[in-house]
Amino acid sequence: MSVLPLWLYPLFPLLGFAVLILGGRFLRGTTAGWIASGAVLASFVVAALNYLNLGAPRHDVLWSWLPGVAAEGRNLSVGFYLDQLSAVMTLVVTGVGFLIHVFSIEYMRTDPRFARFFAFLNFFVSLMLILVLADSYPLMFVGWEGVGLASYLLIGFWFAGHHDHGAVDGVNNSNAARKAFIMNRVGDLGFMLGMFLMFQAFGTLVIPQLFEGGAELQAGRATFELICLFLLVGAVGKSAQLPLTTWLPDAMAGPTPVSALIHAATMVTAGVYLVARSHPLFEQAPAASTWVAVIGALTALYGAISALNQYDIKKILAFSTVSQLGYMFLAVGLGAYTAGIFHLVTHAFFKALLFLAAGSVIHALSEEQDVRRMGGLARKLPLTHAVSLIGVLAISGIPIFAGFFSKDAILAGAYEAQPILWGVGLLVALLTAFYMGRWYFLVFRGQYRGSAHPHEGGPLFAVPLVTLAVLSVVGGFIGLPHFLGFTNRLEGYLGRVLPVEETTLTVGAEWALTLAAVAVGVIGLGVAYLRHRAGTLADGPLRNASLRALYLDDLYDGAVGRPSRALGAAFDAMDRGVDGAVVGTAEVLAEPSGRAASFWESGYVRTYAVSMLLGTAAVMLYWAFRALGGHS
Amino acid sequence: MLLIAGGIGVLAVVVSMILGPKKPSRTKLMAYESGNDPLPGGKERFPVHFYLVAMLFIVFDIETAFFYPIAVAFGKLGVFAFWETVTFVALLLVGYVYIVRKGVLEWD
């Protein structure tokens, strides 16, 4: 069987989006949810068939698009490119996406804007597929911006407040959405500049032309480094790495399935995908690659520390996501691309599982999100409890669960390349096991501390949860380590497009590393258990420093937010006319500069005219000084 | 050089501003220091029609001013100049029709 046309992938969800946005109001009950799920399922079927049948990479060109951006001044086309890397990604996006769609049918059942929610979800899946399958960087950028937009719409989905939380909640939600969008745009800037530079250096932005056929890219070392650093900025924005990390925890304002789909499993991993996709460039740029790894390690640590003392059931998971994304960056930065993608896949399974389980808990407790008012839910929500336990074990790196294999692969890679980074990774693994243990014990063990009447959700909760739980158990087997005598299936598959590093570690060393990783996992969970027994678990270590995420948000507000507001106000005051009734300028500007500004703000035509003439004079003087400086 | 030149200019003005003795008196502050006392009615109001008619007068005055050289050299200028003149007059005529219909020239 041949490979199916690639435009089918985004087509189905896009059709779903169109149907739901146009005809949503005519659909009764949960029809809209089923249409959306069906659309993603159709894409999944295509993705699965193509995954199995894919031999050589496939490149479909659709229609002529951007002018003058391809080689030899030809027009760049819209086209899709499927190789083993994008095949794996599409499977994750559509597969996990489908399960989350099904979950959402139950979760969002009572929402008045049910159809709109699924329309946005389908829109997201469609653009994510475009991002993954794009055959050129500009098209990838369109998907990149598009998923940002979808994320904005979905984080702010409850902009009007949710249930009875009221309007204040709504404003917070839309602020969170805007913050996410804007921080992403900072990253997009890097993406764009990297793209321009790439075009200048290589004359093309088409991925197969750039990377296929083993053609050596010709450019200076500095060019490679610069391109890669710009791309890194883009990846950092999308994947919420330091320093652009603060939007992701806020993004939890969105409905929980959104957090599972966009802010855990798929969109935030786009940065990892970008680095892996551009690996021929990063291989030529050792310094930039090191930066990727260092940023990854620091973010992993930052996320883990911030997760220690959170009280919101979703915020813990959000910081955990930040931390795990750091792991992936660490891996791809060190050249262990398959390990990074491996962790991406397994993380998609267990983190989606954990988020959906959290959603199930929140649903059961009538929108309660504070873990201090939970507890003892193991008896009341047995299914949710069971799958959560699997998720926790998976993320903590306990053997045979999926997270164990992928985390082990990353740590082994890190040890080989740079023992310090390995040390950081190991520390993060310890912290991860602890805060996930804290999460688990606070939610499911002990006595129930709330006042709601928990009840298990319906079968539409159960099916996705169980499926993801199974995947979180067996998902790791696609990438079994060599030293145990297995063949690594994922590595074999991805090895056709990504470089595979032959390990130089002895079997003994690998064993030691594995045991160390398992040991810290067990210790972390053990400490959590002991403190649970002692009843001191609710207050995590580091108190406020952790709760306020190491004060990063406050720092940004002080360093960027306030000055830019003041600057804007100052420029405004400068231009305001008589009608402006400039009050409060003095508050904005300090006393001496305020007096200077009042000369400008008078609103009289004559001062405007004077400023124009002065401007002209300044223009001439500027040139004159430059010319003089140039000649003397 | 430019700096020095500019600097001297600025310096001269600034220094005289600072050092120069200032003894203002009523006579000194008058618009024409040694002439007649200005009449107080500088701010008298005119009907707005005055300005309108004055503006229109200028426009048509210039039209007439153009006609003199054209008339003098008409024989040498040929057909082209004739049609150019016609176009010019026609454009002004449109404006003239407009102001007449708007009642600008009705004085009361």
Binding site: S64, W65, L66, P67, G68, V69, N75, P138, V142, E145, L149, G156, F159, A160, A167, S174, R178, F181, I182, R185, V186, L189, M192, L193, F196, S564, G568, F571, D572, D575, R576, G577, D579, G603, V605, Y608, S611, M612, L613, L614, G615, T616, A618, V619, M620, Y622, W623, R626, A627 | A73, K76, L77, G78, F80, A81, V94, G95, V97, Y98, R101
Partner: protein, 488 residues
């Protein structure tokens, strides 16, 4: 013995688009006892005919008056954008002007006179024609800004007039100095003199160029020549603001490109200065827009900010930047016109609306809210709207010409822009409880405004998805080089 007067070569074809508009303007002037609606239809027909006649001139490279008037492809491109903007203005005005008691045919007449001037600028082959066009456009613009009988409108018109005179004076001085340095007024002649290094002295030429830059800077609202913009755009009737902030800017940029892309491509000393001005414009426009509470004033600052983005195209080489400029101008015209047309409908008076009053617009007028959201998204530069590709193209053009620093700055300020565009956009979709605007009755969207909004929204979507439709037409580097003219 005086020599026989030799008539210049008068080719009617390249003048036809201008003459049609002028004829329409004259008809509108003397159209007494005619309903304004009829006059507006006549005006639209005249504009469409003019646009059609431009299409027939496509590729012909026709000239008249010995190259003083050039109907080459760039001119036609700018001309067509002007026509599009003017038609949208007229469509929006049909339903809007009766509501504000501004429903007289003088509006249409003035608009057509202004368009006549703009086409002259676009078609200009020498500085005198350019200046005449600029003055015709500006004078008509001053009148339009004052048409609405409110104190605010009169103040804004007066400001515009006085400051515009200063701008013109600077421009004329610049033209004079350039003429003094090169001995030529025609763009091709200046270009030749400059490339042959055949001019009196360099400072004179540069001073001329910079003064022209400052003069044009006033018209397009480059910082520090921008201060009239917020006052005038805010004070003028909204439909007039629409016209001033889109079409006038198109024409002024056409002039800028003509002069600086065409006549001074070799002597690039102005470039460093222009770079600074563009950088200032980007910073001031975008940051000042951040703190605006009035939506109309916000759009005024947005117009300043977009001048900065457009200026990037000017910094690039004409061969690449020209096409990007036309594309961006078209996109800018459509999206700004769309946003202001919606504003014209929903505002209680000509002062615009406060941002906060936009709250809940979606639930009262879903169609208008969606149209406005699309326009704002496009202004913010989000795909798949036209604004995204406009930004992409100008960034790329500037970047490729080596202006890396300013491209980075522009991209950064475009992030800032996102903030102030998203705020009103998000407010529209919030429930309107408790805001004063909630009790205001929904306005009826007239047929003509509907058509205007349709043109804008369909345009920005279409240009966003298939930018090649427009861009490819202009993306022939050769046609942007004035050398092809000089050879004639």
């Amino acid at each position: 013995m005086t020599p026989e007067l030799r008539p210049p070569d008068i080719a009617l074809a390249p003048m036809l688009p201008i003459l049609i508009v002028l004829a329409g303007a004259l008809v509108a002037t003397v159209a007494f006892r005619t309903q304004r609606r009829v006059v507006a239809v006549i005006a639209i027909v005249a504009l469409l005919l003019s646009g059609f006649s431009m299409l027939t001139l496509w590729g012909a490279n026709a000239t008249a008056f010995g190259g003083s008037l050039r109907a080459d492809n760039p001119a036609l491109g700018f001309g067509l954008v002007v026509i599009v903007g003017a038609v949208v203005t007229l469509l929006a005005s049909m339903d809007q002007l009766p509501r504000v008691r501004m429903n007289f045919p003088e509006f249409d007449a003035m608009l057509l006179y202004a368009v006549t001037g703009m086409l002259l600028i676009a078609f200009a082959g020498d500085l005198i024609v350019l200046l005449i066009g600029l003055e015709i456009m500006s004078l008509a613009g001053y009148v339009m800004a004052t048409l609405y009988g409110s104190r605010r409108s009169e103040e804004s018109g007066m400001k515009y007039f006085l400051l515009g005179s200063v701008g013109s004076a600077i421009l004329i001085y610049g033209i004079a100095l350039t003429f003094g340095a090169t001995g030529s007024l025609s763009l091709a002649g200046i270009r030749e003199a400059v490339s042959a290094q055949n001019f009196a002295n360099t400072p004179l030429l540069i001073a001329g160029a910079l003064m022209m830059l400052a003069g044009f800077g006033f018209k397009v609202a480059l910082v520090p020549f921008h201060q009239w913009t917020p006052d005038v755009y805010h004070g003028a009737p909204t439909v007039v603001t629409l016209f001033l902030s889109t079409v006038v800017k198109v024409a002024a940029f056409a002039g800028l490109l003509r002069v600086f892309g065409g006549a001074f491509p070799v002597e690039r000393a102005w470039e460093g200065v222009a770079e600074v001005l563009v950088a200032l414009t980007l910073i001031v426009g975008n940051t000042a827009a951040l703190v605006q509470r009035n939506f109309k004033r916000l759009l005024a600052y947005s117009a300043v900010a977009h001048t900065g983005f457009l200026g990037l195209a000017l910094l690039a080489e004409p061969a690449r930047g020209g096409a990007a400029l036309v594309f961006y101008l078209l996109a800018y015209t459509l999206m700004t016109a769309g946003a202001l047309a919606v504003l014209a409908l929903i505002q209680p008076d000509e002062g615009g609306v406060e941002n906060a009053d936009l709250r809940g617009l979606y639930y009262r007028q879903p169609g208008l809210a969606l149209a406005l959201a699309a326009c704002l998204a496009s202004l913010a530069g989000l795909p798949p709207f036209a604004g995204f590709f406009g930004k992409y193209l100008v960034f790329q053009a500037a970047f490729q010409a080596g202006h890396v620093g300013i491209t980075v700055l522009a991209a950064m300020t475009s992030v800032v822009a996102l903030v102030y565009y998203l705020r009103p956009a998000a407010l529209m979709f919030m429930p309107a409880e408790g805001s004063a605007a909630a009790v205001r009755p929904a306005v009826r969207v007239g047929t003509f405004t509907g058509v205007a909004l349709g043109v804008c929204v369909v345009g920005i979507v279409l240009l966003g998805v298939l930018p090649g439709l427009v861009y490819n037409v202009f993306d022939a580097p050769a046609q942007w080089v004035l050398a092809s003219l000089a050879a004639k």
